[in-house]
């Protein structure tokens, strides 16, 4: 436990981008809030103001989530490779820390801790941006952009998205770490090439595209599996309404679908494959010390 603590701290020392990128993104969004034109329509009803607040928080959150996903993927692909490349692995391995602990801590950083950092950054950014926009608009819009209830719902949404993302993308993370522990060079190429070649091979010789379907679904189907998106849809105004009745969704609790996500065989088959990849990455870490 104590060791994990130090290993995680070490990742922050090495990868200062973990907090510098979200800080830079937050700074950019705040500059935009300060200097771009604000044209929020005057909101009259309670429903409209809640929708505006939700849309604002979701848009800010989505930006952070997208950047986070890209950075986390890069981090996982790089984390078992750089110290082999610069041979510093020989220093880390001279200390009484097991390879399993090392690999699992890096996985934890990539899948939970980095998302939490972005979550915090998104919250701080949204808070300050809402404040700035309220002052600039000098109207009731401002108060509507900061709706406490909506804010709490967004917190629930973030936690739910972090957890489901970690479980759903475990095979992807495992694959990236496996390559990171294995490749002698060009990790990005190795991460992309095998699935791509498998896909082309399948198409040429069998005329099917099962591989691309499986991979495509894994990369894009998370919202579909973890939310009730068949029942609800986004409106142009940024609200979410019931498909059938057109009524707004009462709260985030109606939108998320944890029981569906956590009972889906697809979720757990993927997670099992992810665990196999990670065990393999640990084994490689034990055997491959240098490039």
């Amino acid at each position: 436990m104590n060791n994990s603590n130090w290993l995680i701290r070490r990742e922050f020392w090495e990868n200062r981008a973990i907090w510098m990128i979200p800080a830079a993104l937050g700074g950019l969004l705040l500059l935009a809030a300060l200097f771009t034109q604000v044209s929020i329509p005057r909101l009259t009803s309670q429903q409209q103001s809640e929708e505006a607040a939700a849309a604002f928080l979701v848009v800010v959150g989505a930006m952070f989530y997208l950047v986070m996903a890209l950075y986390a993927a890069w981090y996982l692909l790089d984390c078992l490779y750089t110290d082999r490349k610069d041979r510093s692995i020989l220093f880390w391995k001279s200390l009484p820390v097991s390879d399993a602990t090392t690999v699992l801590c890096k996985l934890l950083v990539g899948m939970i801790i980095i998302p939490l950092v972005y979550f915090a950054a998104a919250n701080v950014t949204a808070l300050i941006a809402a404040f700035i926009l309220s002052i600039r608009a000098r109207a009731s819009i401002g108060s509507s952009l900061w709706n406490g209830d909506v804010w709490w719902q967004i917190q629930v949404l973030w936690v739910y998205v972090i957890v489901t993302t970690a479980v759903w993308y475990l095979p992807v993370a495992g694959w990236l770490m496996l390559l990171s522990a294995w490749a002698k060079r060009a990790v990005i190429l190795w991460a992309i090439l095998p699935p791509l070649l498998l896909n082309i091979f399948e198409r040429l010789f069998f005329g099917t595209h099962v591989v691309s379907q499986i991979i495509g679904r894994r990369l894009t189907a998370l919202p579909q599996v973890s939310f009730h998106f068949s029942k609800y849809m986004w409106t142009n105004e940024g609200g979410v309404v019931d498909n059938a009745s057109g009524a707004p969704v009462p709260s985030v609790w109606h939108l998320i679908n944890p029981s569906g996500f956590f009972t889906s065989a697809e979720t757990w088959i993927g997670a099992a494959i992810g665990i196999v990849f990670i065990v393999a990455a640990i084994q490689l870490r034990m055997r491959r010390s240098e490039i």
Partner: protein
């Protein structure tokens, strides 16, 4: 007392290439052992196996443990400096001390800071800002502050200038070594370490050519500088190596009574480096 390191039929293959070929060796506690061999002889493979960094065939115990399976526990009592370049460039000196203090139960922070206080190195410096010699000092400070039974050094002074090398070995002998510790050093620069070793192990083409204490070396090996007139008579005693220098011939004998050789010329015990050359240059003349 049981040996600290004991290898029997230690074998390591990389595909078709055999890096270690049924090597047997033994290291006792309290010794400073030089593992000496030419480049590509299997030194590094042997060390990697001893440190649990690689899988191997054959039997190997280090401090009573199986290195590959029990590397984590082994590293509580054993430390190693692979070579000078391995501290990561982004690491700060104070972070390095914090980290090792955090994960190593036998690390004594005061010792590391006391050692560094004698140098020009401050805590906020990053490894990338330090010279090779300074990095070695940091690594040595970290390592010497660990109360370990076994210290393994793999080409520790590679790329260092003569001053830094001397400082490294002086610190090692004066501040670190005592009867409870054992040091295993690999190097291909024999001259540099021969004055501090108590034991030598010669390795060549994956096999152990010699494993002996220096006291035994002195009784086992004899070198005689023979004049041309007596050469044939001396050769009859079967030297295993001949070296021609400045008109003289030096003959090297193993397990031959020095009394028998006295008449042939000036007798001396070969230095480690001479013996290394003699042993590895192959068959008798």
């Amino acid at each position: 007392m049981a040996a600290l390191i004991e290898a029997r039929d230690l074998t390591k293959k990389y595909g078709a290439h055999v890096a270690l070929d049924r090597a047997n060796l033994k290291v006792e506690a309290g010794r400073i052992v030089g593992l000496i061999g030419p480049n590509g002889a299997g030194k590094t493979s042997a060390l990697r196996a001893i440190l649990g960094l690689t899988h191997y065939e054959g039997q190997l115990t280090v401090l009573g443990r199986e290195p590959f399976r029990e590397r984590t526990q082994l590293m509580n009592e054993c430390c190693f400096i692979a070579d000078v370049a391995v501290l990561p460039s982004w690491l700060r000196v104070d972070q390095a001390i914090d980290f090792v203090a955090g994960v190593h139960p036998r690390f004594r922070r005061d010792r590391a800071t006391a050692f560094l206080a004698k140098t020009q190195i401050t805590g906020k410096r990053r490894m990338r800002e330090l010279s090779k010699g300074m990095k070695t000092q940091v690594h040595l400070a970290l390592t010497m502050a660990i109360d370990a039974k076994l210290l393994v050094l793999d080409e520790p002074t590679l790329g260092l200038d003569i001053l830094a090398r001397r400082a490294f070995y002086d610190a090692l002998v004066n501040d670190y070594m005592d009867e409870t510790r054992t040091i295993l050093i690999t190097t291909h620069q024999v001259e540099e370490v021969e004055n501090l070793l108590t034991d030598v192990i010669f390795i060549d083409k994956g096999r152990i050519v010699l494993d002996s204490s220096l006291e035994d070396v002195a009784t086992r090996f004899t070198a005689v500088a023979v004049t041309a007139a007596r050469l044939d008579a001396a050769r009859a005693e079967k030297p295993f190596y001949e070296r021609h220098i400045l008109g003289k011939v030096v003959l090297y004998f193993e397990n031959v009574d020095p009394g028998k050789l006295e008449g042939f010329g000036e007798i001396h015990t070969p230095s480690v480096s001479d013996l290394f050359v003699a042993k590895l240059s192959g068959g008798a003349a």
